[in-house]
Symmetry: C2
């Protein structure tokens, strides 16, 4: 289980590396990996230099690169190459790679060339690419024929996919065709986690793992236990509460509320924070579920050097 | 009339400033302005540093910044600010600004905040923003209510729009509501040029102005002459020939063919060059129309310092 880690901003909209590191540490302490710079990280509202700087800062803060899967796919090929190379150099466990997403209705030949060019330019056997299929946002789908072609040409390097389509038929087709070839299929929401694990999938990379990591990670570990369906149902109730709101502002508002850190709700345009009325409803819904984020705490001066919490806690 | 100037690449996919300057000079000599880094420029396949470098090179080569309207809108706010500021500093006539285009279904509040934040950060009274409405590619439309709000808050700075929707009802609504307030409406194809000019519009910013600039510019000047409809029909025939192919590769193939410069067809992924069969058909279609690009020439060693051709020629 990984979380597309939400990115905290200062009041003048600069990314805040110290608060990001703190949230990452809490997530790792709850057995959730770090898919920084994903869609829910406002990753595409950050410049390449900002992402490079944040990645450096996280490694510098002692967070384990092996547990990171930064989003590196950009519209411009050299941007994707630069960020991917940096992730590999840091020893990141993988990268989550959007296709170039400005031009629409592009051919599989063009998308294949995009990924191939990145792989060739990075030219590092340690590279592990997880393709990022999120057609409702990127509007550039990654289809089965393209995956097949990439896997044939770059086995090992093309290591898996995050299927955020929410289309289980698509996920199942990937599992059937590619998982036997060592291709890891992650679903984009924990609502499909149990189904994915039962069908041989790898796990999930989910927005709400930012706020509900321990319970999601527990189902991921204990999915063969008899209480798995009940655990899935409990995850679904929390997820449903969030899906009534714009996801990113709701996640940030929740972290702000649970940590007491009032600066968390800031988002970069074009996103907007929750309205006061939305925030009231969010608190009400989560309160009704008895929702909490145990162990989350306010900023402290020792954040940058604090030891890693033990894994699997929460 | 402006052209989203196609961007030439070297065989290893680097942008080629010298060849770009040469094409810009030819366009200006045919009375067409320079909307560099537009959609048809593969503008979103270029990094911010590449665009900044090309803009510097064009100005350095003696091309008039006042005739440039670089595309500066990016997904990440600081990228948009950086490139817009550079354009203003160079004295560019305007900038063509996409909304941040990764996140979809964003609110007008969020889009307003995006543009407002750029305007405030650039903080220069010389800034002239032409909004870029191309919903079929960006998938982030710029609606009438948003324009109204931006015009009220930033009159003068918000100077106009390129409406590439191809939806004449939308263009007409903009003309009726905003042109009287000094807001220039450009259509995104010369097929609507005469209709736009007759309704009070400002002109067009069109892909095919890369290859057919003189004739488009002539209609723009002489639209009140009795032969205007015949001129429009002639423009439409050329445009129709190109629309049978992927536009950007077809433009580049045409420039390659007419200039004898075989390096022009190179595109960056995710785009792909025309197939041999498409190229054969392209030549046949344009030959049947008697199409030519007079005055276009091969690269010469003196390009960087060549004098500007007289305006209005071709």
């Amino acid at each position: 289980v990984l979380s597309p880690v939400v990115t905290p901003f200062t009041s003048d909209l600069r990314p805040d590396a110290a608060r990001l590191a703190r949230h990452c540490r809490w997530l790792l302490g709850n057995d959730v990996g770090l898919a920084v710079f994903g869609t829910n990280s406002e990753g595409n509202s950050l410049t390449v230099a900002e992402k490079a700087g944040l990645l450096d800062a996280l490694v510098e803060a002692g967070l384990p690169a092996a547990r990171m899967m930064p989003g590196t796919g950009a519209c411009a090929l050299p941007d994707t190459v630069e960020l991917t190379r940096r992730a590999v150099t840091h020893g990141c466990g993988g990268v989550l790679m959007l296709p170039p997403f400005y031009y629409k209705d592009v051919s599989d030949d063009g998308l294949f060339a995009s990924f191939a060019e990145v792989i060739e330019r990075v030219g590092d056997s340690r590279l592990r690419i997880y393709l990022y299929h999120i057609p409702q946002v990127s509007r550039v789908p990654i289809g089965l024929a393209l995956i097949d072609r990439l896997l044939q040409r770059y086995p090992g390097t093309v290591a898996g996919i995050k299927d955020s389509s929410g289309d289980w038929d698509n996920t199942r087709a990937m599992l059937e065709r590619f998982q036997p070839r060592g291709f890891d299929v992650f679903v984009g929401s924990e609502t499909l986690l149990l189904a994915n694990l039962r069908a041989g999938g790898a796990g999930c990379i989910s927005a709400t793992a930012n706020v509900n990591p321990a319970a999601i990670a527990k189902l991921n570990r204990d999915w063969q236990q008899p209480d798995a369906d009940a655990r899935q149902a409990a995850l679904d109730r929390v997820r449903a509460a969030f899906q009534g709101f714009p996801m990113i502002p709701a996640l940030k508002a929740t972290i702000a509320h649970c940590s007491g850190d009032a600066s968390w709700p800031t988002v970069r345009p074009p996103l907007v924070a929750l309205t006061a009325e939305q925030e009231r409803q969010r608190r009400e819904k989560l309160h009704a579920l008895g929702f909490a984020m145990p162990g989350l705490r306010l900023a402290g001066p020792d954040d940058a050097t604090a030891p890693m919490p033990a894994s699997g806690g929460g």
